[in-house]
């Protein structure tokens, strides 16, 4: 909204864009069967590999990264707490429980049906989380993430128990730990809906900034607070459900990226949304590439890599905050 927000210079933007492009190309090139990028256009086999596997995988990483980072940003806005994200506050666990149940009851359901059910479950789970979070005393900001972790843990435990009973534990781990190696053309396209959700977030960016000022300030400026809450919840739930169903949950993106962007640029969503999305995409791409290279030719799932990287960033944020107040 505000013109004075153009703090990061054009150069910063160009360098960031270039970095993202390099990661994108690297992600296309790296893999068990080498893909010489200079020969792609002349070599039909390489072209095939690119179109069926590498390009979908790379797009999936970009979409998941950008989407989950935005979902984290919105969740932090709605709960007015910087330390929550879909992976730790019950959203992802609810989505997992949802898809587990639909898989148990209707194993033959189409992917989009399962996604829809997972999205609905995520919506319910996140609504309950937020309703409770708003009742916690704001003087103790760590209560909200703590409650989220316990709450997510309980739902996760229910899912694990149900999966164990039904002998579906292996399936569950597919949803709880993100991995891009299975992403192929024809199996990931629903993820583009995450891009749509990011676009919706862009449209309501100013309203999100105002929401972060609190309920009263929002009403004073004529915002339909309850309605915006619903829109935010839908964005968060849909993105999380898509990630869970298609690649499995990736933790910490939604936590680390919005926090770092906020530190560097502030909280005017209109100005930061693009950076959060790009940062999420870049982080997930980088972790996926690292996961492919670290034990080459074997792969480490991106969820695992991110758990380590993101955990370190999270601790850093916590300790920095101590000094900041």
């Amino acid at each position: 909204m505000i013109s004075a927000v153009s703090k990061p210079s054009l150069w910063t933007g160009l360098i960031a864009g270039l970095g993202l492009a390099v990661l994108f190309v690297l992600s296309l090139a790296v893999g068990v069967s080498p893909l010489p990028l200079n020969k792609v256009l002349s070599d039909p086999e390489a072209m095939q590999l690119l179109a069926v596997s590498r390009l979908p995988r790379t797009f999936a990483a970009v979409l998941c990264g950008a989407g989950l980072a935005i979902a984290g940003l919105i969740m932090q806005t709605l709960s007015r707490n910087r330390f929550v994200e879909p992976a730790t506050a019950g959203t992802a666990q609810s989505a997992e429980l949802g898809i587990l149940l639909v898989t148990l009851l209707f194993p033959a359901a189409a992917l989009w049906v399962k996604t829809l059910v997972a999205g609905g479950a995520a919506l319910v789970g996140t609504s309950v989380f937020l309703a409770t979070a708003h009742r916690l005393p704001p003087q103790q900001p760590f209560l909200v993430p703590l409650f989220g972790i316990v709450y997510g843990g309980v739902i996760g435990a229910v899912a694990t128990f149900a999966a164990w009973q039904a002998d579906l534990l292996q399936f569950l781990s597919v949803w709880t730990n993100g991995e891009f190696s299975g992403v192929l053309r024809g199996r990931y396209e629903l993820l583009w809906i995450a891009a749509l959700m990011v676009a919706v977030a862009w449209i309501v960016a100013d309203r999100l900034t105002i929401m972060a000022l609190g309920r009263e300030a929002s009403i004073g400026l004529g915002i339909d607070y309850a309605r915006m809450m619903q829109i935010g919840l839908v964005i968060v739930s849909v993105i999380t459900a898509l990630a869970v169903v298609i690649v499995g949950m990736i933790p910490f993106v939604g936590l680390a990226v919005p926090n770092i962007v906020s530190r560097l640029m502030g909280d005017n969503v209109r100005g930061t949304l693009g950076w959060v999305a790009a940062g999420g995409a870049g982080l997930v791409l980088a972790c996926d590439i690292a996961g492919r290279l670290l034990r080459y030719p074997y792969e480490i799932p991106v969820g695992t890599v991110m758990g380590v990287v993101g955990g370190a960033v999270f601790l850093w944020l916590l300790f920095r905050r101590g000094g900041h107040g």
Binding site: M1, A4, D206, T209, A212, E216, G220
Partner: protein, 252 residues
């Protein structure tokens, strides 16, 4: 005109406001005074539709506050609350700019920019305009919040203890700004004040509340008398007249 008719408000079983009726015609500065817990903030928040009405009717320029779409009211009425805390990292100019949100729904025209710049300048925030709110002093932050309410540029302005944290210079400057928007632009300002001498110096009318009721309503000359102030605040104070205006020596 702000019309408040038979408004009562309870918190659980505790009555907070009891059968309040008050008309505030358009134009002018009305000061709302009264001891802590009298219900001033509650009344203001009801007028500004921040809490749902339980009993009675409130309308602003004929628009009932409980049924008029919030975004329409936001173009007519702005409120600065007593206990606003900004947890977001926003720059001063960004925050003041959001005061324009009701008008352009996020798109700032040149005219909006000019209004925001004027509000920023009016409260001496130009040098601070690129600073994050969290890095400001209490008084600077308060000025930024007041500037945001001014930028909303509504006909009705409700300010709940806006002098909090302001030094003498800025307190006086704010009161004079309010006086001038009321006189020059016909705005209606309702302001909660604890400094009754500011009310006496700058307001047209003083409304005194106590225990959820309006107990006095009149010009500064009518309200600032030892008897009346004793009724409102519970102790006697000397009142002196300087340049035709009554001032209470409540420190003595």
């Amino acid at each position: 005109m702000i019309r408040i008719e038979n408004v009562s408000f309870k918190h659980r079983a505790t009555p907070i406001l009891s059968d309040i009726s008050l008309d505030i015609p358009k134009g002018g500065v009305v000061a709302l005074i009264g001891p802590n817990g009298a219900g001033k903030s509650t009344l203001l928040s009801l007028v500004a539709r921040l809490q749902p009405l339980q009993a009675g009717v409130i309308s602003v320029d004929g628009l009932p506050v409980d049924t008029t779409p919030s975004r329409d009211l936001a173009k007519v009425l702005a409120i600065l609350r007593q206990d606003t805390t900004i947890a977001s990292r926003l720059r001063v100019r960004e925050l003041v700019g959001f005061g324009r949100f009701p008008h352009g729904r996020g798109r700032l025209t040149q005219e909006d920019d000019a209004i925001v710049d004027a509000a920023v300048a009016q409260f001496d925030l130009t040098d601070l305009s690129d600073r994050f709110i969290e890095t400001l002093s209490g008084g600077q932050r308060q000025r930024a919040l007041v500037a945001m309410a001014f930028a909303q540029d509504t006909d009705y302005l409700l300010l709940d203890e806006p002098l909090n944290n302001l030094d003498m210079y800025y307190a006086r400057a704010l009161m004079r700004s309010l006086r001038s928007v009321a006189d020059a632009n016909g705005k209606t300002v309702v302001i909660v004040l604890h400094d009754i001498n500011q009310a006496s110096a700058h307001a047209d009318r003083i409304v005194a509340m106590k225990s959820g009721r309006i107990i006095a309503d009149g010009t500064p000359g009518e309200i600032l008398t030892p008897d009346m102030l004793d009724t409102v605040f519970g102790f006697r104070m000397r009142v002196e007249t300087i340049e035709g205006k009554p001032f209470a020596l409540h420190q003595l």
